[in-house]
């Protein structure tokens, strides 16, 4: 019906209100795991609280108990189960609860169930003999998440790998471009300065000859103009003599014979070193070269030039480099992305395989291929799958076994008497509790003839299924022989004859069997290696242990008659208010936390304390005894089955004859005890 569950959570809590918080926490975590939204979680928690509160209050009536929470998460829905082992509860009309009816009634009772119905998409209440389950199903409404695929793509390994490689490569390339660009531009500027310097020096050399020879100014002027024309980066060349008088000017002939004024803020005495200043809109260099003759300054050459040409040249080159780098990077990224694809594809393959595994495919293995690392992953994964599938098979087998045991337990329960017969003058109660699903204890009370009843308590050695099967067999045999034969001894001998052939080797049964006669109020009993019967004498107010000798049933004997010889039959007439308990050692050997046993003394004390109260019913006394044992053992899990038959003589119909009879019996007993 459903797809396989994604996750299953099981937890067990004590059914108390103070544990509601822990339950809520478990549920909340599961809801988050099922990726429910906040609103859904809030409402689910409310429903769970209602369900749990209901169990505490109504299933257990605030008494001790356990609550199991099982949450199964599927892809599109979550199944919440609250399981208890207490009283089952009948939802109102077992159908839909109507809010208006609730309001009309003015009751609060059905509201919890109404809320659960409203919140959950489906609610079922399953009540079996062993447990009650409130099963609630909530659908998960996943919101459509837009833009999510892109975001997820951004988070993929491939994308991250590509981005990081891109950043690192870009930084390396950018860094090296910056470095080389710097070097080149520095070199170009240096070169430019050197060129102008060389030019200036040449002019100075020529000028020194010119100044000495005092040639025509115009002639030299023309020389300067032609220099300027030949070198476009030159803005101005001025030649002065030692008195700063201009002797040649590249711009205008009119400046000749005038004083030269260096541009503002510049020092005309710094030689051979360019000084930068602003002329018009451009940065220009101002260079002063001295004209010397035998260490005498005879004049200066002033050159103003620009380096802007280099800037444009460089800018052009840079643009080209950047474009080229971009193109290369683009190809690089594509390459990296494709390459990462190659590396990641084995991971994708493994992921795909794991997906199939989670959806139930336990068979196909991962191909062992790819790089060494992936080879190892695949190998480890294959091993894991193999182990898991084995485990699953084992679990399935174990579950099947558990199911079978459960069936055995059901069958066994039907074998125990579900209703005790009404026995005249006898208030009788029985109790049975198996330590595990199937028990090895037996109790039975059945009518063998019109006036006679057979009562049996037995304990099969061993536990579990074998013990329970022997117990079933034993009950049948006792029922058959109990009706056919008269005395308890005859019955137990016949039972033994049958059992010793059919019981598995090494197993045996201790049996306490007695026949009660309604007419005479007499019990006749035998014990096949069983615990003594604890008998309360209402006359002396004392306890007696009635423990006739006898071998356990089912033991192999060499001598045919050995069992029969060992069995001793005893009898006793019961008086009004006499009381007895036949039990298995599950009671006396019940351990407390320290490992001390409950012991027969405690049982006797209990009987002495309560039996004299002629008002108390055996059913109440039985409950008290169970409480006493449970209090003693505390949370120790019972290690053995517990069963007992508890009865008291109670002569109700006080007809004169009955009264007389009863008094007679008391008298007889007194005489007997006096004799003793």
């Amino acid at each position: 019906m459903f797809r396989r569950p994604i996750k299953e959570i099981n937890a067990e809590f004590k059914a108390e209100e103070k544990y509601l918080d822990s339950i809520q926490r478990t549920v909340r975590e599961s809801c988050i795991a099922a990726s429910m939204n906040k609103k859904e979680i809030t409402s689910v928690l409310l429903a769970i609280e209602e369900g749990a509160t209901n169990i505490i209050r109504h299933a257990y009536l605030y008494e001790k108990g356990l609550m199991r929470v099982r949450i199964v998460i599927y892809k599109k829905l979550v199944v919440f189960s609250l399981i208890d082992y207490g009283r089952s509860f009948q939802p109102d009309n077992s159908g839909k609860v109507d809010l208006h009816k609730l309001v009309e009634s003015g009751r609060k009772g059905g509201l919890g169930f109404y809320m659960i119905q409203k919140i959950m998409d489906s609610v079922e209440y399953i009540s079996t003999a062993a447990f009650n389950e409130l099963r609630m199903i909530k659908r998960i409404h996943k919101e459509k998440e837009k833009g999510r695929p892109f975001l997820r793509w951004m988070l993929t390994l491939r994308f991250k790998f590509s981005v990081w490689t891109f950043i690192i490569v870009s930084m390396i390339i950018g860094g090296s471009i910056y470095y080389f660009d710097h070097e080149i531009s520095d070199g170009m500027y240096r070169h430019k300065h050197e060129t102008v310097q060389a030019l200036g020096t040449t002019i100075a050399a020529q000028a020194s000859g010119y100044l000495i020879n005092n040639r025509s100014d115009v002639e030299f002027d023309e020389l300067l103009v032609s220099y300027k024309r030949a070198n476009p980066e030159l803005r101005l060349i001025v030649l002065t003599d030692a008195t700063k008088m201009i002797r040649a000017h590249s711009d205008d002939i009119l400046f000749i014979r005038k004083q030269y004024q260096a541009p503002q803020g510049l020092n005309a005495y710094i030689y051979n070193t360019p000084q930068t200043f602003e002329l018009g809109n451009e940065d220009v260099e101002f260079l002063v070269i001295p004209i010397e003759l035998r260490d005498h300054l005879i004049g200066k050459v002033y050159i103003i030039y620009t380096t802007e040409g280099i800037y444009y040249q460089l800018a052009d080159a840079r643009t080209q480099i950047v474009i080229l780098t971009m193109i290369l990077l683009l190809f690089g990224i594509i390459g990296i992305y494709l390459l990462s694809d190659y590396f990641v594809s084995p991971i994708l393959k493994i992921t795909h395989r794991i997906r199939r595994f989670t959806s139930g495919d336990l068979e196909t293995e991962l191909p062992l291929e790819g790089a060494e690392e992936f080879f190892e992953i695949s190998k480890a994964f294959n091993q894991m799958i193999t182990r898991l599938s084995q485990d699953r098979k084992n679990i399935a087998a174990r579950e099947k076994m558990a199911k079978e045991i459960e069936v055995a337990s059901e069958i066994q329960k039907t074998l125990l008497p579900n209703k005790l017969p009404e026995i005249q003058n006898l208030d009788i109660e029985s109790f049975y509790r198996a330590a595990s699903l199937v028990g090895g204890d037996l109790y039975d009370i059945f009518q063998v003839s019109e006036k006679r009843y057979c009562m049996v308590v037995a304990d099969v050695s061993g536990k579990g299924v074998p013990a329970s099967l022997v117990m079933s067999m034993l009950r049948t045999v006792i029922q058959i022989y109990g009706r056919q034969l008269q005395s308890p001894k005859e019955i137990i001998v016949a039972v033994n004859d049958y059992m010793k052939i059919n019981i598995p080797p090494g197993m045996f049964v201790t049996v306490f069997l007695q026949i009660y006669d309604v007419e005479t109020n007499e019990i006749v009993f035998v014990s096949a290696g069983h615990n003594p019967m604890v008998y309360f004498n209402s006359d002396t107010k004392k306890i007696e242990q009635l423990n006739p000798k006898g071998m356990p049933v089912g033991l192999p004997t060499r001598d045919e008659n050995k069992f029969a010889d060992s069995i001793i039959e005893e009898r006793r007439v019961m008086c009004d208010d006499d009381c007895f308990i036949i039990f298995t050692d599950g009671i006396t050997e019940a351990p407390n936390r320290e490992g001390d046993q409950f012991g027969i003394e405690r049982l006797e004390e209990f009987i002495v304390a309560h039996a004299p109260d002629s008002e108390i019913r055996m059913s109440a006394l039985s409950e008290k005894l169970i409480d006493l044992i449970d209090d003693y053992t505390g949370f120790n899990k019972a290690t053995d089955d517990i069963s007992f038959i508890l009865a008291r003589m109670q002569i109700k119909s006080s007809t004169p004859i009955e009264k007389q009879k009863s008094e007679n019996r008391l008298l007889v007993r007194k005489i007997n005890s006096d004799k003793a």
Binding site: E49, E50, L99, V103, G106, L111, G112, M115, I119
Partner: protein, 130 residues
């Protein structure tokens, strides 16, 4: 752990009782609120506003109080109005369709107004006396 604090303010002239609740109304704390409401009903005060501004969570025990008394209140010509529910609580209120039975208001003023005409002025009068 879970705590609850309840304060009651009664408007004499208009017979409106305002119950301010803070905390969590669940199995453990619901009894306290129920006591307050029942004491009002005993004194024949059937007009109430429950201010839920400080309530983080209401379990069925809490809703049960409102649901179980609302019929009685209506029959006596009163009303029980809920005000200032926070988002979480309001979501549950809607989901459970309690809006069919209990009226909810965004603010105390709205709830007061719905009870009668000039309650706000009434309120200011009261302040003046103090």
């Amino acid at each position: 752990m879970d705590n609850i604090s309840i304060s009651l303010k009664e408007n004499e002239s208009k017979e409106i009782s305002e119950i301010r609740v803070d905390g969590v109304i669940d199995t453990l704390t619901a009894a306290e609120l129920e006591e307050v409401i029942e004491s009002l009903l005993k004194r024949d005060r059937f007009k109430m506003i429950v201010d839920l501004a400080g309530v983080e969570y209401i379990s069925s025990a809490g809703w049960g109080i409102f649901i179980s008394h609302i019929k009685d209140i209506h029959e006596n010509g009163g009303d029980l109005k809920l005000a200032n529910m926070i988002e979480n609580v309001a979501e549950i209120y809607e989901l459970l369709e309690f809006d069919n039975v209990l009226k909810a208001y965004v603010s105390l003023e709205d709830a007061r107004e719905d009870f009668g005409d000039t309650i706000s002025s009434d309120n200011s009068k009261k302040k003046g006396h103090n």
